[in-house]
């Protein structure tokens, strides 16, 4: 995900300090993997250099001065462009699971076991997400649903591959 454009989007509602931006970002978009301060300030200085944000105010603090950032007109245009462009759907054409299945078949190992182990792991993560959803707010529910639908798609692929293993083994070993 583009941290820069997400920051710009957050700044559209009003100017913020770097720390506030990090907190808003973590709460809304990156619950499990909070941003490092280094990433926050590197992103802000890039946005500043490109004229997408400007320093709105500098306040003295106990330590270094606290800068408040505001979005510029160019920044608003940048967010607008980003939001109006579709994301390229990932194609997953060469994923690790596929490679593992083929390698298992090539080396005479039990590919069905591999698929069973993977199914159990996918379901374990899906259970965690389902529990998190139950205790979460609407934002949490939407994020978890997105992950759950993707994992479900993986599982459907696992089932189909399991059903085709004999055919696949014949082709791979031919």
């Amino acid at each position: 995900m583009s941290i820069g454009q997400t920051f710009l989007g957050l700044l559209e509602a009003g100017p913020r300090h770097g720390y506030d931006l990090k907190r808003a970002y973590d709460e809304r978009f990156s619950h499990t993997r909070p941003l490092h301060f280094g990433q926050v300030y590197a992103t802000l200085s890039r946005l500043l250099k490109n004229g997408l944000v400007e320093i709105d105010a500098v306040e003295p603090g106990e330590g270094p001065e606290r800068k408040r950032y505001a979005i510029t007109a160019a920044g608003v245009t940048d967010v607008q462009q980003w939001l109006s462009q579709p994301e390229r759907p990932d194609l997953y054409l060469q994923n690790t699971l596929y490679t593992k299945v083929v390698l298992a078949l090539l080396t005479g190992r039990a590919a069905a076991d591999l698929l069973d182990i993977q199914r159990a792991e996918h379901l374990r993560v899906m259970r965690e997400l389902t529990r998190r959803k139950a205790g979460g707010d609407l934002a949490d529910q939407l994020i978890c649903d997105h992950a759950l639908f993707h994992l479900e798609a993986d599982l459907r692929w696992l089932e189909l591959t399991a059903a085709r293993l004999d055919d696949l083994a014949g082709k791979v070993r031919a």
Partner: protein, 230 residues
């Protein structure tokens, strides 16, 4: 420490004509746990559920409920077991169309000879709990699919069963309604310490379970669990 399972399927085999539906399928269910039975269409998962619930008799193998062999029971005893200890939810609610939703939920209690007023009072409590109190006076044909399925869940839970058998309970619902049914079903089961045997081919539905068992070509896999007496 080992825990005695509540319900055990031991080496079940079942054929319908030339088709083998189950082949030495085994399964153990502990009190209060939610187990998803997964597998592709035609893999034998519904037959396994029907055998576990005493609806279908296996050709060989044994089903034991609280240590008692269901196959050795008389028809009357088996029916009493199903009415008193088991609850059922199917893909299409299978509510009685001529009765109101309240009467549908009260029906299992009436069959167990509870008086009408007490049965309907308890049924009303369950409709409230399943967030469908507003449909109590309506007939099944007058309510939405999601509401009807929640009425069916209320009917399955009203007798305080020890085991709930749910066969594709969200199969006819959209994602949002399916999710609501699963949340209410599993929450209620966990609060009342009822076990749930949940047949589904949907992973998002299975994610409401504590563990899964996979049925493929009539055989079960994924039986590993600690704490169960052999």
């Amino acid at each position: 420490m080992t825990v005695e399972p509540l319900l055990v399927a031991d080496q079940l085999t079942k054929s319908f004509g030339p088709t083998t539906a189950l082949e030495r399928a085994s399964l153990q269910i502990l009190a209060g746990e939610v187990v998803a039975v997964m597998g592709p269409s035609g893999s034998g998962k519904s037959t396994l559920l029907h055998c576990l619930a005493g609806i279908v008799a296996p050709d060989s193998g044994q089903v034991r409920y609280q240590g008692r062999d269901i196959g050795a029971m008389s028809d009357t005893a088996r029916s009493a077991l199903r009415r008193g200890e088991f609850g059922f939810v199917f893909q299409f609610g299978q509510l009685v169309p001529e009765l109101t939703c309240l009467e549908n939920v009260a029906l299992p209690l009436r069959l167990n000879r509870l008086g009408r007023r007490a049965a309907e009072r308890r049924a009303a409590e369950w409709l409230e709990r399943l967030e469908v109190a507003e449909v109590s006076g309506k007939r099944p044909g007058e309510v939405s699919g999601g509401q009807g399925q929640r009425v069916a869940v209320a009917r399955a839970l009203v007798t305080a069963p020890k085991v709930i058998f749910a066969d594709e309970p969200t199969g006819a619902l959209d994602s949002l309604n399916g999710e609501r049914v699963m949340r209410l079903l599993t929450d209620a089961a966990r609060q009342t310490h009822a076990a749930v045997v949940l047949v589904t081919h949907e992973a998002r539905v299975a994610a409401y379970s504590d563990r899964e068992v996979v049925v493929r070509d009539g055989r079960t896999t994924g039986m590993e669990r600690s704490g169960v007496a052999a």
